[in-house]
């Protein structure tokens, strides 16, 4: 799964991919509740969508604000295809519906991508935003196709069973999603190694030089965009099969596009497996975190902002950097610092989160009385002691954390310097 973990040849590659397949099979056996199965199904198609988004962001350096257009259009075409098949107008087994969605996503990527990929960088970002708004606004004008406010519904249990699968129970839908997830991930990984995938990286890093060699950068971006659209469409169609309903206001919106961007980046755009982490986080955050706190979008925004500022490679890069340190046997020197960072960070988080929760409580749950329970502690929004206490905890935490972070940054720099010196020495030898 990871291009840099597995440099150890074909054997390592087989092991990693085998583990991925085993994980897809074993997870639904371990977590048997219906909530877990729903979440796993969502993770399955979101992995495809986030990976397809990373073809643009990570591989091509194209920051798109309109990826929901291609997942959404894939979903809509898939739903209509399923409804036609139910009527008997066309022959289409459910197991092939994601491919229909993929082709639809590809078609719309080819259509809109022709305009958007004319530019790169920030202009590209603005144009994808504009196209996203265009499609979202248009979808409300054609209720016959997009179903207006109610959306379009479908039924996935039509037709003869395929290998005994009727796609009625959720577990069978999960199997379909898992199969598509595995194949799509493998195909997208293979794509990173093709000449086109490599050219996409080159266009990201140095477009002038690529043009000098004789490639058309716009054409390379365009092809990359179309391929991303194909996989986005597959993901969208799987979502449509999973929920049996697609709504225009929701699945084509810029909020959805922003979510894909946010979590792909959080997972890590610079490594192939980063978006997989992002997709898992997306489901965990939107299903579990939103249950715990009403302010989850605020926490998400804060985490995202800190991530962009301090770890622009996302979680994947944090993992890989620590793996590198561990390989060189220097991790022990940092472990103490990690513990300190964790303690001071937890203190800071505790103070700030308590403040946020108190303000939210005042705004939303005034009727429930002034007392709220936060991590087992009773806080009273009417008492000055609660406010002063949380502010003091937050400030002390922040001060200690900043102090530790600065010391840690020095140590971290030292260790990285030593590792790089060791690598250079090895290369020279």
């Amino acid at each position: 799964m990871a291009n840099s973990v597995v440099k150890s040849g074909p054997l390592g590659r087989v092991v990693v991919w085998g583990l991925f397949a085993v994980l897809l099979i074993v997870l639904p056996l371990l977590f048997r509740s219906s909530l877990a199965l729903t979440m796993l199904s969502q993770m399955g198609y979101l992995v495809i969508i986030c990976l397809s988004y990373n073809i643009l962001l990570g591989q091509g350096g194209m920051l798109s604000f309109g990826h929901a257009v291609y997942t959404g259009m894939g979903a809509f075409i898939a739903v209509h295809a399923m409804n036609q098949a139910t009527k008997g107008a066309i022959w289409l087994p459910v197991s092939l519906v994601p491919l229909v969605g993929g082709v639809a996503g590809m078609f719309f990527a080819a259509l809109f991508g022709y305009v958007t990929t004319k530019k790169s960088g920030t202009t590209f970002a603005m144009i994808t935003l504009g196209i996203g708004e265009l499609v979202a606004a248009m979808s409300l004008m054609f209720p016959a196709f997009f179903g207006g406010e109610g959306g379009v519904t479908t039924n996935r249990t039509y037709g003869a069973p395929f290998l005994g699968l009727t796609f009625g129970p959720q577990i069978q839908v999960y199997c379909l999603i898992a199969a598509y997830c595995f194949v799509s991930t493998a195909l997208m990984y293979a794509f990173t190694g093709t000449p086109l995938g490599r050219m996409l990286n080159a266009v990201r890093d140095n477009p002038e030089r690529v043009e000098f060699i004789g490639y058309n950068t716009q054409w390379v971006r365009y092809l990359g965009f179309i391929i991303a659209g194909f996989f986005a469409g597959i993901g969208g169609a799987l979502a449509a099969i999973n929920f049996e309903i697609v709504g225009a206001a929701d699945s084509l919106s810029s909020v959805r596009s922003g979510g894909y961007l946010l979590f792909t980046f959080l997972g890590g755009a610079t490594f192939f497996f980063g978006p997989i982490i992002g997709a898992v986080l997306l489901v965990l955050a939107s299903v579990l975190l939103s249950e715990i706190t009403k302010a989850w979008l605020l926490y998400l925004g804060l985490v995202f902002l800190l991530m962009v500022m301090y770890a622009p490679g996302g979680i994947a890069s944090l993992i890989m950097m620590n793996l590198r340190v561990a390989k060189s046997g220097k991790l022990a020197r940092l472990l103490g610092w990690y513990a300190l960072l964790a303690v001071t960070g937890a203190l800071t988080f505790f103070g700030i989160a308590a403040l946020i929760e108190m303000i939210y409580h005042m705004q939303l749950n005034e009727a429930l009385g002034p007392v709220l329970s936060f991590l087992g502690i009773e806080l009273n929004v009417k008492s000055a002691a609660s406010w002063a206490g949380t502010v003091v905890v937050a400030l002390i935490g922040l001060g200690l954390f900043e102090l530790t972070r600065k010391r840690f940054a020095l140590r971290w720099g030292e260790v990285q310097g030593e590792i790089e010196a060791a690598i250079r020495a090895r290369e020279a030898a």
């Binding site: 920051l63 004319k118 960088g121 920030t122 970002a125 935003l129 504009g130 004008m141 925004g301 902002l305």
Partner: protein, 315 residues
């Protein structure tokens, strides 16, 4: 004639409000190469700050204080967040402002709630300024026009006639040379970012009570402002002015026209029924199509003139 004049005036005042927003965005973009995704969030903050301040000490002080506060916040953000990611390149810069827009939206919801706030016009701006063909033109809209024109004039004077303006212009093209002459270029950038945020907030102070003040206001105008900047030509202030007026007038006229292709064909003697091919498309009135017109303009512009109306280079 009556319809034309009133729509034109409304369109111009909306266009000028768009220009107040896009001018700050364009200035920041042309100087620092940063596309500030949170620009309309500053606009929203301006409106909310003005709502709170005008509740305490009145509208006219708020007109001055709210932009200054937001400008200060913008400068702080530039100093402590944007400058840190500058070395990573333009995409992380865009991402950090994207994250900020997320955060501001949630904070506004947290502090002022999810519903529309009752941010009303001050007494002096209520009522019509003049009556034309029996239709009244409100004072508030003329105030927007006046303020936008004043702002345009003062920004132009600041950039071309003052010492700091000359330094800004020089830092735009030759930052290293300006730095070696002893000017603090990062601080100039910080001032420009704060200034751009203040301009957006000023637009928010008067846009918030003329239209509505709600958490969705940043998103509603956000993508339109990006369209303005691309259509006008990236980094061109004059282009942004032209494109703002064009889009403002275009949208205002479009929402008022209740004609569709079907009625047009009817006038030519062709009847459109449910069975006609493309019936859904032909039945759409111009007013229904109005929300997508700016984006259509964007797409057409990119196909036929990719550098924008007054853009200098094809980037």
């Amino acid at each position: 004639m009556e319809f034309f004049t009133i729509s034109m005036l409304n369109g111009l005042s909306y266009g000028l409000l768009l220009f107040m927003l896009s001018s700050g965005l364009t200035l920041i973009f042309s100087m620092m190469g940063v596309l500030n995704f949170a620009h309309t969030s500053f606009y929203m903050l301006g409106a909310y700050f003005a709502y709170s301040i005008s509740g305490a000490i009145g509208f006219w002080p708020a007109l001055l204080i709210a932009p200054l506060l937001v400008g200060g916040l913008g400068a702080l953000f530039e100093r402590y967040a944007l400058r840190r990611v500058h070395k990573f390149g333009h995409v992380p810069e865009l991402l950090v402002t994207f994250g900020l827009s997320y955060l501001i939206l949630e904070l506004v919801r947290l502090v002022w709630g999810n519903a529309t706030v009752p941010y009303g016009l001050p007494e002096q701006l209520q009522g019509p300024l003049f009556t034309l063909y029996g239709t009244q033109f409100p004072k508030s809209r003329s105030f927007i026009m006046l303020l936008a024109l004043l702002m345009l004039l003062s920004v132009w004077l600041l950039l071309t006639r003052t010492r700091i303006g000359l330094v800004i212009q020089a830092a735009l093209t030759h930052p290293e040379t300006v730095e070696s002459l002893g000017h603090n270029v990062p601080r100039v950038f910080m001032l420009v970012f704060g200034g751009g945020a203040a301009l957006a907030a000023l637009a928010g102070v008067i846009g918030g009570n003329t239209y509505v003040t709600e958490p969705a206001m940043a998103g509603a105008v956000g993508s339109i402002v990006f369209v303005v900047v691309v259509v006008g030509g990236m980094g061109s202030l004059a282009g942004a002015f032209l494109a703002s007026l064009l889009i403002g007038v275009l949208q205002t006229f479009a929402v008022a026209i209740d004609q569709s292709l079907a009625t047009g064909l009817h006038a030519l003697g062709i009847n459109v029924t449910d069975q006609t091919f493309g019936h859904d498309l032909l039945q759409l009135s111009v007013a229904q199509v109005a929300p997508i017109l700016p984006y259509l303009l964007l797409v057409l512009m990119l196909i036929f003139r990719p550098k924008g109306l007054l853009g200098r280079r094809d980037g």
